[in-house]
Each structure stands twice: as structure tokens, then as C-alpha cells.
Symmetry: C2
Subunit: 345 residues, 2 copies
Amino acid sequence: MREKTKKPTILEVARRAGVGLGTVSRVLNNHPAVRPETRARVLQVMEELGYTPNPHARRIAGGRSYTVAVLLPFVGTEFYKRLLEGIEAVLLEKRYDLAIFPLLSRARLERYLKNGSLAYQTDGLLLASYDLTEHFGGRLPTDRPVVLVDTRNERYDSVYLDNRLGGRIAGEYLARFPGPVFAIRIEEETDQAFQKTTFRERIQGFREALEAAGKPFTERQLYTTRLSAEGGRLALRHFLEQASPPLNVFAGADQVALGVLEEAERLGLTVGRDVRVLGFDGHPWTEEVGLSTLSQPVEAMGARAASLLLERMEGYKGAPRQVRFEPLLIERASTGTPPKAPYLP
Amino acid sequence: MREKTKKPTILEVARRAGVGLGTVSRVLNNHPAVRPETRARVLQVMEELGYTPNPHARRIAGGRSYTVAVLLPFVGTEFYKRLLEGIEAVLLEKRYDLAIFPLLSRARLERYLKNGSLAYQTDGLLLASYDLTEHFGGRLPTDRPVVLVDTRNERYDSVYLDNRLGGRIAGEYLARFPGPVFAIRIEEETDQAFQKTTFRERIQGFREALEAAGKPFTERQLYTTRLSAEGGRLALRHFLEQASPPLNVFAGADQVALGVLEEAERLGLTVGRDVRVLGFDGHPWTEEVGLSTLSQPVEAMGARAASLLLERMEGYKGAPRQVRFEPLLIERASTGTPPKAPYLP
DNA sequence: CTGAAAGCGCTTACAG
DNA sequence: CTGAAAGCGCTTACAG
């Protein structure tokens, strides 16, 4: 009759391993001053008992929470899925937990930050996509280390993709093909509190490249839509009202590019010949559907951001570090080029 | 020169209020055995000091975490925004925190549940939209109370909307207007791990009502798309290829209905006369755009679910409670009916 | 109604 | 390298 399966504590581990509980704690914290044999024995016992440390006790005893807060837009796109995977990979390895805070409203954000709730819960903050510092006069109201990812700010460690460069690469690339060039501009969320400029930068770079190539780009070549595959379908229909195949489309995002692909197929057009399509993001499924795209190492960016944060949490005091990633053009069938060897991140 | 603004503790509050720290704790926990004057004085001091209890200490001392986990689909739709608002409202009032766990993959879910991480962190679980019990042989591997919302299961407290009824109301309503009837079926996410049937139920009810009204519904009257406004635009174009105005469209969700509205306007059609559109969800903005819709009391559902969970956490042991909400038809200009008094939830 | 004390499961100097 | 002890900020019987 054991009572409600009480979790084993550090004390029980210590007893069974025949050591003091300080030693168990040292093993837990990777303290170097533990003999390898002792460590092994303790780990063994932990394994047997299915022991996991009580994070609340650690927090209260050690002052650290072993938790990192990730604040991200409340949109369930593949980009954030991948970003979280990258972040989580390095955090879990270091035995840190990850608390996700979807940015729903400014009021909620302030509550998180102000009332100390976040402060109590986490040892560091990872801000994705929104540079929230503007809301707080340049500095977030927290004494925890902060790292930005998918956005940048000179005052904080930042890990970001050069979206404008991606747009330029797209422009240079598509300008070489016969037929007119079109682009899809994806509307950013219009929430005043949370702004980002990702898609705008991509289009900006695209426009620059076309102009540099002597193919000035006008509003008529642009179609604006929300981020959705159906938006890509509408875009292609719109472009086909203005020009006959072959035509070349920069979709701005893989998700939208997928819609272009779907609609082309529905209309009986041959992708890669009648319609060339270029996506952006390099999501894993683009390989299956043969979509050319500007690959973005999202997982790597997330991992890098998490590493920078971990360093800060361990006391690193240097100047803010700006880590810039570059997108990589991957040619596949959707732009008519024979597929190359698969992309290795 | 105060050092890094140490947070005040219960001890400091006790001193300043001239009471023992047990009393402060009692105030914190709404224990009845505290004289009103004493309580007032303590609360005063807390206010002055900007004291907030350290949740980790409470957790470790009291065995409770004062945190509820909300597991929800990784999609940033307005529905979940509203649901979270409803949940949060009652939880915050009871001084509970809310930990959001987006359901990204089955692997992550199992990690949450298994490794005891969730178990340590929270006192109860709220599962939104997915009945995850199937993954675990009928019972979730947790000893914490569990409440489902936006889905149902006989073995757990469940709060849900009768989506099929909503579909039926929509069918009965639209069948009365002149002109053919169309419907938009929204694809559920195809993730095998996380399934829901919301939209399917709405269409099912719709079909039943039409058949009952002697207007059999065929596949030709159905357009399938992902959940997006652009999907609504495509749908309307599709319907207009099959019939001339006036026509009547059940959009299945407000977001998609919005696209129908947009496209009708773009085509110069008069909404409410040439095209009648009925949404589903009753999101706040539908009033502004004059969209008729089946209103769903999402916030109230979230609040109710949170209340049921709180009761369980306080020890309620009764049989699982099934709370069924009914959608309410709101007539506005998009179905040609003059707007009535605003809906009061 | 209220205070003093034990205890929650850990971490971290401090001695050995 | 390791043990014993103090302490983290609370909660909760236990006495008054």
C-alpha cells in the first residue's frame, strides 16, 4: 500500500547510493568535485528510482529557476515550430526548461513582465520576432538576460536572418528567366502592439535586385495577401490576368508558394516551365513538393539564440552580439532547374 | 545603495505589520481565521512593499503549485485567444497562474506528461480541442485533475459547444432564403496525433437541416479549403461559377466568412442581397463588418472550464460533468436582415 | 484569532 | 573529493 506514489527525493537517492545528500546535489549540478565512480553510482540510483529533481526546490534553494521564457507571436506557423525545436534542443541538453509565453496582447505582456511573475519563473528571456524593447523605452523591465531572435536590436544579443539579402537573391535569380516577374507581398499582422517587418524586407530586397538588373518593378507586379496558401492561389490567378506564361513568381514564403503550386496544377500549367515559383523559408516539406526556396536555418538560429542566452545566464558580460544568418538559395523543380543534391544544414 | 532590489519576503511584511509570519501567510491564503483589521493591515503593508509571494516557495512548502497547465493546439486563431481570456479571467481571480503548452508534437506532449515536468509544475490540466486521452489508452498519465474544453469525453469534465446544432441552425436559417445554398467545409489539421472534428460537425448539422427542409445537399454545393479568409474568397468565386445571385453561403467560420465578404465587395456584389453569408464563432469584429454568425460564447466556455477545474483541485469528487453550450444565431446585414439589438453574452 | 516551530526538497559554503 | 549544516521563502499543524 504505497501512498500516492511519492516522488523520490534527493535524500532517498543519497541513502541508496550510500553518500551524503550534498554529493547527490553536486552530481545534479555537474559539479566537478565528484569522483567519477561516485557520480556513476549516484546516476545509477537516480535511474533506478526514476528520480527527477523537484524544480521548485531547486529554484528556491539555488535562486535559479532552470527555466527560460520564450516570448513569441501567437501564430502557429511552421517557422515557430522549427524555432522552438532549435531552442529546445540546446536548452534541454543543459537541463533547462522552457516556458512559452504567446504574445496575445500588450496588457498580458506587461503583466508578465511587471508583476515579477516572469522574473520569478525564469532565468532568462528569449524574444522572438518582435523587438518589444520599444514598448518600454528601449530596455525591458527585467534584470534577467535577454536575447532576441528573428529580430534585432543593438542593445541586446540578436540572432536574425538577413531577409533583405534573401529578397535580393530572389530578385537576381528570377530576373534571369524569360517572362515577367511577379511577387507576393505578405501582410504583417496589423496589431499595433506587435510589429514585424520580415516580409517587407524580403520584398524590399527583391525590388532592389530587380532594379539593379534593369527590370524596374512596379506595383502592378505585386499582389498583397495574408499569409496563407489560398493567398498564393489568388495571387497566381491575379498574375495570369496580367500576363501569359511563362511567368516567374517570388512568393515571399513557402506557405504561400504552396498555394501557387496548387493553383498552377489546378489550371493545368506546368510548374517550372509555364510558372516558375520561388518560396522562402526552406521548410522541410518543400523538398517533397519540389519547391525552390530561400532556405532559412531556423532551427540553427533558435539554437544559437539559446546558446547566447545560456552564456549570459552563466555570467558573460561582453557587449551585445549580433549574429546574422544568410538565406541560401535552393534550386528545385519549381523554377525549372533540375534538383541538386539535398540541402545539408 | 540597496543591493539589486531584493524582493521583500513574507518576513519583512510580518515585521512591518507587527504580526507573525504565519498570519501573513494566512492572509495570503485567504484563511478565515484572521481578524479583518489584521488582514487589512497586512494587505496594506504588502501593497506598500509591492510584495508578491514567491511561487516556488509556496509550491515547495504547500505542495501546490498555484499553476494550471493549458494544453492547446499550436494555432494562433482568435478562438484560442478568446478561450485563454476566459480561462485566465477566473484563474487570475483565484490567484492561479497559467502555463501554456502548445501542442506541437506527440513527442513533446509525452515528454510534458511523462517526465513529471508538468506534474511538478501544475495543479491541474485544461485540455483544449483535442481529446488526448486516446493517445494514452483512455486515461491521461497524470494524477492531477483534468478538464476538457472545446471537446468532450465521458470520463472527464467537459465543456463544449454543440457544433452540430450550430450547423443545423445555419441550415434551417439559410434554407428559408431564395436562391441556392452553399457551404464551405474547412479542413481540419491533418496531424495524425492531434485530431478535432469541429468543422466536420458543423457541416454535418448543416447537411441534416437542409435535408430535413427538403433541400438535399450535394457535394457540388460544398467547397473545401483551409481555414483562411482567402479560402472564403476562393469559395465564393467557385460558387459563382455554378449559380447566379442571389446565393446563400454558410462559411463555417467567421474568418472564412470575412473572405466571402471581401470577395463579394471586390466583385461589386451586394452582400445581404446578391450574396447572403453566415459565419460561425461570433468573434467580436463580426459586429463591425455586419456579419451574421452563430455566436459561440468562447470566453464563457473557457471560464466555465477553469471553474470546473478549480473545483476539482479543491477536492470535488463527483462524476464527470458534461457542460454543453449552444450557439446563438445573430442576424446582421450579411444575411440581409436588419441588425437587431447587440448580442449580450 | 495568532505566534513559534517544524518541514517542504533542494543548494552552497564550510569544514574535513 | 565528501559530509553535515544552514538557509531559501513559504505552509501548516500545534499550542495558546
